[in-house]
């Protein structure tokens, strides 16, 4: 999001390089994410999209370069970073309600017994995502879209500066996808929370996206959607002829051979 005057980036990568199992996922990555910016990370499976989030979460170390959140080196358990993981359903018997999941986001890392009282933070976060009515419902009894909203409430528990989302739209139908995207879009506009959104499918987030980071076979392109989602840019990234068709608010990437987006 372009704001008047220079603001301090909440997330910075400097010459970041990640090598996993002898394979270079990306290298020389420079990225500055300003408050309130919506960054969409695209790329085929195994291109290192989720690993990028793991680096920011402090769960994976860069092979070279540096990564910092609000000016400080990334570390595990940073309260300024919220995380919505890849969707994996819950069993019906999982003894956790909506409010409990959010509560775990508040104090789940602290030693000791669960607290008795009802936390106003939990109620507030559930309200923010329109999930008040899910407070007393077990996770296993929620639909996929409801679970994702509660997960976002959990990720907001610490009032983070950066929200990392790993394919949060997976297995949701278009209507619920739109709701989740709208929620994130509003959050970053109202609170200036930067969003880093990993996805296979750009269309649901195209309207919200400020920056696209396209990862591919150790290379990457970074820019606004208009700069990146162009035939010549993606053709050179993929090393094969790729055609980008944009029609109103939709975009399609067509290739002569299967390139795997």
């Amino acid at each position: 999001m372009t704001t008047a005057g220079p603001s301090r980036p909440v997330l910075s990568l400097r010459q970041a390089t990640l090598r996993l199992g002898g394979r270079e996922l990306w290298s020389g990555l420079d990225l500055d994410v300003e408050p309130g910016t919506f960054v969409t990370v695209l790329g085929p499976n195994g291109s290192g999209k989720s690993s990028l989030l793991k680096v920011v979460l402090g769960l994976r170390e860069l092979t070279a370069g540096s990564a910092s959140v609000a000016g400080r080196a990334v570390r595990r358990g940073d309260r300024r970073v919220g995380y919505v993981p890849q969707h994996s359903g819950f069993d019906a018997d999982t003894p956790v309600r909506g409010r409990d999941l959010v509560q775990l986001g508040v104090d789940g890392h602290r030693w000791g017994l669960p607290s008795w009282g009802r936390s106003s933070v939990v109620q507030d976060r559930l309200r923010q995502v329109g999930a008040d009515h899910l407070a007393d419902v077990r996770l296993g009894r929620m639909s996929g879209g409801e679970q994702q909203r509660v997960r976002i409430a959990q990720a907001l528990a610490t009032d983070p500066d950066v929200l990392l989302c790993d394919e949060p739209l997976l297995s949701l139908d278009p209507r619920h996808q739109a709701r989740v995207v709208d929620l994130l879009d509003r959050r970053r506009r109202d609170h200036g929370t930067a969003v880093v959104f990993v996805t296979h499918e750009i269309n649901p987030v195209l309207g919200a996206t400020d920056l696209v980071l396209y990862l591919m076979d150790g290379r990457f392109v970074l820019g606004t959607p208009d700069e990146v989602l162009r035939s010549e840019v993606l053709s050179s990234l993929y090393g094969t002829r790729v055609e980008v068709v944009r029609r109103r608010d939709r975009v399609a990437v067509l290739a002569d051979e299967a390139v795997g987006f």
Partner: protein, 294 residues
């Protein structure tokens, strides 16, 4: 002991009997408490099958100790802690470990039966390790149970919250700084100790009646993370103590009473339980519910 019980098939001598089995009652109470609390994580971490595997290795360990002339209790502890560590090494995901547990389990049971067959001791021992022998709790064994229970409950009280986080939501827990891998190991060792103690009482085949059924019943009745362990412990305690009291009046061993009580509690909980306002909503129809808000 068996002979003494067949003399008391009616409940008229209770006041004389109860002091004789005082140790057993204390042991039952400890086990109920322990089983009910540990069971919460057995369910949350999807470990019932692992519990069964650990208890049969515990049986093998105890049988080996019996054969070699060592302490049955020590053998049972060694067997279950080794099994728990093996299962811990397989990882936290149920799918990855279940087949290996399925492979280990009959091997452990087979070994145990072999050791018992080679051992020329009293047959009561053979039967006891598989199906329970709580009436034979001596002071030394009771002390061990007290120490184990206190230790396990104390550790659980410290790690409860992050362990629950790591159990139901491992990715986010790791991201928030919870030592997920360490907690996985710590809990498996706690589980090993718990199973070793439980095997002494209800026997290897019936450990799940203490470590799974009470929590499964409690889950049908409450959604509160605070009430769940309390209710689960209460149910396990009821089954253990009730089973001990009932066993006093007859010649039947304690374990069928414990398992039956435990099962009855579960049945009742299933029938009356409505822990979630959404019970009526079929899983397939869940998607359309409550979306209109905000």
């Amino acid at each position: 002991m068996d002979l003494a019980f067949s003399d008391f098939v009616d409940f008229s001598n209770y006041d004389r009997l109860v002091p004789l089995v005082q140790n057993s009652l204390y042991a039952g109470a400890l086990l109920g408490l322990l089983g009910g609390l540990v069971g919460v994580f057995v369910i949350a971490r999807d470990l019932p099958f692992a519990v069964h595997g650990v208890s049969e290795m515990s049986f093998a360990g105890a049988a080996a100790a019996l054969l070699l002339g060592g302490s049955v209790v020590a053998g049972s502890f060694a067997g279950s802690v080794v099994a728990a560590a093996l299962i811990a090494a397989l990882g936290a995901r149920a799918r990855e470990r279940n087949s290996v547990i399925g492979v280990l389990m009959p091997f452990g049971l087979g070994l145990g039966i072999l050791f018992l067959a080679l051992h020329e001791g009293r047959s009561a021992n053979k039967f006891g390790l598989l199906t329970g022998q709580i009436v034979a709790v001596d002071s030394a064994r009771l002390n061990l149970m007290i120490v184990t229970t206190l230790a396990v409950v104390a550790v659980l009280a410290v790690i409860w919250r992050p362990l629950m986080f790591a159990s139901v939501d491992p990715e986010v827990a790791a991201a928030r700084g919870v030592p997920v891998g360490l907690l996985h190991w710590v809990f498996m060792i706690l589980l090993g100790c718990t199973v070793a103690v439980a095997v002494q009482a209800v026997g290897a085949l019936l450990v799940l009646a203490l470590l799974c059924t009470p929590t499964a019943a409690a889950i049908r009745l409450t959604t509160s993370p605070v009430l769940l362990p309390l209710l689960s412990a209460l149910f396990a305690l009821t089954a253990m103590l009730g089973g001990t009291f009932l066993a006093l009046g007859t010649a039947i061993p304690i374990s069928p009473y414990v398992t039956t009580l435990s099962f009855l509690i579960y049945l009742v909980a299933r029938v009356v339980g409505r822990p979630d306002r959404r019970r009526e909503v079929a899983p397939s129809g869940g998607g359309a519910v409550g979306i209109g808000a905000a």
